[in-house]
Assembly symmetry: C2
Homo-oligomer: 325 residues x 2
């Protein structure tokens, strides 16, 4: 059975038809008008109508923010002016199709679990390092949604008491030490320090004064010592956070996604080293594997569609992968 | 249906018959001979035989340590010389009864979830503060066991990078800041500081130079300012750790157990205050409740028996509470 997945991002809305093997057809996207929730809703409705083409298909919608445990109401979204928005009810009313709302990081992580790096394990933690740090937790083949629906906000695990201020209002969150934005800060500090930072400083000048993720990734690919040092700092923090997460969640696999994951083993190496250095009861504690995400930008679309299909199709009332494959 | 629960502690083995309402009959205990695994196994076998009295009942055995995901093998125990001990196989062979092995903190947390402070929620985190800090996680009515069986080691969430050395080999674990032993350290520091610490110092002298948990609890009950200050430090650390755990796990309820829980609201107050001060996205993030554990020392016995009954009885092959009550 096909399902429709919609992923509402900060700058675009993407959608597609997804089959039971995770393949996407009919992929489409439009710009997001985040300032106008009514226009955004209409964009989603039109996109779904176009994809459904009159068929009755389940619809999964992924968005950044806190979604309630009933997968219906967006309590709060950082990018869109929603407060306790009954988005599922609105969409079902206008579409006449069954809809579930999902947190976007959970949807993307679920896609990796079903069709990507996590497809062979039952317990997985995904950490997505982009502008912020997002996460998704799968345990015993199930998406961990939490008591209020807002579990898996791994970016707000605190790693430094009284540390850097975070956009969430707290301090010292891993988001401030393990995100792509943190990598840029680290690279800039190394560029400012001379020595191995000189190539970074030159690249920054050539790029108009900004060391963005693409420039850093290129220097990493060239094994530039300064860029590799920045990546090691980032990986060190991520690995330390994962050591705490292993104590609490005990995954078989950590999956790293987001822009920084393009550095592959050059990032996973420092992560693994820091993880083992900080793993409680090292030597006695079983050790998880580490991998980079395999699905690309349409992971949110794939995961949202899959969660909708499982919810309304094979396993009504629950999100379980026991019918995977 | 009745089930047998056995709880192997560092100093004693406790056992009992537990009915489907969590009531314990036939409670019995013997000293643990932790240095002699063969003698310990024989003690457990004799205790189970006495409780079973010839009936075929499921047996749950709780022990401190890492238990595999198959609930059969103890990878490692801190107090008993076990390495990859196939304890389930040994016991089933000698007893002819179905056996599951469980981590002791998980068993105790499960009992609180089924019959104690957590009986009205679906998602709960229990933190037990005693000599160390133990934990148990219930999510969506299920015990979170993890990919290798060793989830819920909440005591080894790191709260201070490069912090106090922990018995696990890592540094800065919440166990070093949130345990009953940490409370003693804090109380001693306050006693050494004069001022509000004078009554603590006098009580320490009267107790032969040691401020143990009982002495501190008595001073807390008397609202001694120094003892309350130590409890606030402890609660502050626990609340900060819970803020990180709420971001990751999103429980509806935190349950605090162990010796320090006897201080009740005098501990929960500082925990709640620190939690809210450090909660990511405060004001938008749903807020869990806080409670002290309701079951006493036999929680491990009750939980182990209940998990065995659910495993072999109502829901073969899984630990689920969907048939609770």
């Amino acid at each position: 059975m096909q399902a429709i997945g919609i992923d509402i991002g900060g700058t675009k809305i993407a959608g597609g038809l997804v089959d039971e093997f995770g393949a996407v057809t009919g992929y489409t996207r439009v710009p997001t008008d985040a300032a106008d929730p009514a226009a955004l809703e209409t964009s989603v409705v039109e996109m779904v109508r176009g994809l459904a083409a009159g068929r009755s298909l389940p619809v999964g919608v992924a968005a950044a923010g806190f979604v309630d445990a009933g997968r219906s109401v967006v309590y709060y979204a950082p990018n869109i002016r929603w407060r306790n928005e009954p988005f599922r009810q609105h969409l079902e009313g206008r579409l006449g199709l069954p809809v579930v709302i999902e947190n976007d990081a959970n949807a993307a992580g679920w896609a990796e679990f079903r069709y990507g790096a996590g497809r062979l394990v039952s317990d997985m933690v995904m950490i997505t390092s982009g502008t912020g740090v997002g996460g998704a937790i799968v345990t015993d083949d199930r998406l961990l949604r939490g008591g209020f629906g807002v579990a898996g906000e791994i970016g707000h695990l605190r790693v430094v008491p009284g540390g850097l201020p975070c956009g969430c209002g707290a301090h010292g969150c891993i988001e401030q030490y393990g995100s792509g934005r943190a990598l840029q800060r680290m690279a800039n500090e190394i560029a400012d320090g001379g020595g191995i930072g000189v190539p970074l400083a030159l690249a920054r000048k050539a790029a108009g004064g900004k060391l963005n993720g693409g420039v850093i990734a290129r220097l990493v690919a060239e094994d530039d010592p300064g860029a590799l040092a920045a990546l090691r700092q980032l990986g060190g923090w991520l690995g330390q956070a994962m050591a705490s997460l292993a104590a609490v969640l005990d995954p078989q696999l950590f999956v790293v996604g987001g822009g920084v994951a393009s550095s592959g083993e050059k990032l996973l190496g420092p992560i693994r080293a820091a993880f083992l250095d900080h793993l409680p009861a090292r030597g006695y504690h079983p050790e998880p594997a580490f991998a980079v995400a395999e699905l690309g930008n349409d992971a949110g679309v794939v995961g949202a569609a899959d969660l909708a299909r499982l919810h309304f199709g094979e396993h009504p009332g629950e999100y379980s992968a026991s019918g995977r494959g």
